[in-house]
Symmetry: C2
Subunit: 252 residues, 2 copies
């Protein structure tokens, strides 16, 4: 097994770059960290390119040895690679997959229109996974699924649910051609309380930007736009909480 | 109006300490930041002790002048006080209120048992506010409502909904004496799907620790324990998302 004990090692220098969108795009690879996340990757037989692990973490988790290149790293290297203050001693280099939409659309789909908070987006994917959704479509302006904070929020859900990146107006035509209803989320006129809708079998639910909501052209093209009645004094709900309420209402 | 342009000024040195729990406990004061948050404080006529604002922010928001001491601060002071990278140029020193429970318990109550993530806790309070809850009770082991990250998550909801700090086992006796049902949240046996419960008029909903759930003695003393059916492969839901789903189910 290869052993690396210096954070200045060239392999480490290249691997740490895979936390940045720029290098992720160039290499089509990302760096994942955390015991739970990497356990999910192994369980899902994800095509791990390299797994980097400290001796302590490997001793406690022998499943981190598998059909992939394993590099034993020092605590100093682990600390250097980690995005969090307390690192968990395990990292993996994984390919960024770019699946294409199935020919026949079935099930529940979450669309993310211009969401900017990576932690929120991670939680949204994790919630869609928990609610049994089929796929999540990241609109062109939505923050990356491979941002370190998105990855932390997803907790490995990228290994359970397919993530797509697409222009949402183009995707709308694909869904409409198959008569799949698209539900938007909005405040104001011409909206329906979420309690008056669902459950639905095949559909898309669109969540908009944290501050500005959905793009107006997309909002106009939906079958119905849903709101969550706010009976208190808060102006709005957190985007991930609102989406969670809607996902568990529409898809039961 | 008093003007402070140096971060080394003694008043500023004392004020910045009010971000730390230790000094918050000693002084019974906390430091709040952000335009939205402080607008909510002013709207609610909260007893602001001092408001600190930059000239630029004050010019754009004349409502930041009111019946309280206002200190004009330089951009350097604002940057120094801010908890976020991009400061909004306005801060307020506010008292930490310690309300006592009403004699007659009415409405919907959220109990937080040993929650540790301040961002999550802030979102939980904001969601309880949006859902029209009456109060939030912080169990003794739950993270402070006045942690800078909790404050950011609450977005000013502390001015709409009463926040209590109490021993939850003692509070349980108070609620039980008035026949107020207490709903817990748990996975496993003897739990009921959230879809089979509610809406309820007067009740308490208990959310447990992010990793370990509710304290066992509390869990045993509830009227029913609810779960959210997970149909996908995610192991669990984010605590704030789960609580949001339950709050909007129980209190309609």
């Amino acid at each position: 097994m290869k052993i690396i004990d210096s954070p200045k090692n060239d392999t480490i220098k290249n691997i740490i770059k895979l936390k940045q969108t720029k290098y992720q795009k160039k290499e089509r690879l990302y760096l994942l960290e955390g015991r739970h996340e990497i356990t999910e990757a192994i369980k899902a037989q994800a095509p791990i390119q390299q797994l980097l692990v400290t001796q302590t973490t490997l001793d406690a988790n022998p499943t981190f040895l598998g059909d992939f290149e394993t590099i034993l790293i020092s605590d100093a290297v682990s600390k250097h690679l980690a995005d969090t203050k307390t690192d968990q001693g395990v990292f993996a280099v994984l390919p960024i997959l770019t699946p294409t939409l199935p020919t026949t659309i079935k099930g529940a789909w979450l669309w993310l229109d211009d969401l900017q908070d990576p932690g929120n987006v991670g939680t949204l994917v994790r919630t869609a996974d928990a609610a049994g959704f089929t796929g999540v479509i990241f609109g062109s302006n939505t923050v990356s699924a491979y941002h370190p904070k998105t990855l932390r929020g997803m907790q490995g859900s990228q290994f359970h649910i397919a993530l797509y990146k697409a222009d949402l107006m183009a995707t709308l035509l694909t869904f409409k051609a198959q008569n799949i209803p698209i539900y938007g989320t909005a405040l104001g006129d011409n909206t329906v309380s979420f309690r008056d809708v669902g459950p639905v079998t095949d559909f898309a639910l669109v969540i908009g930007n944290e501050g500005n909501g959905m793009a107006p052209d997309l909002l106009k093209a939906t079958i119905q736009n849903l709101y969550i009645p706010i009976t208190g004094a808060a102006e709005s709900l957190n985007a991930a909480v609102a989406a969670g309420i809607l996902m568990f209402q529409l898809h039961q």
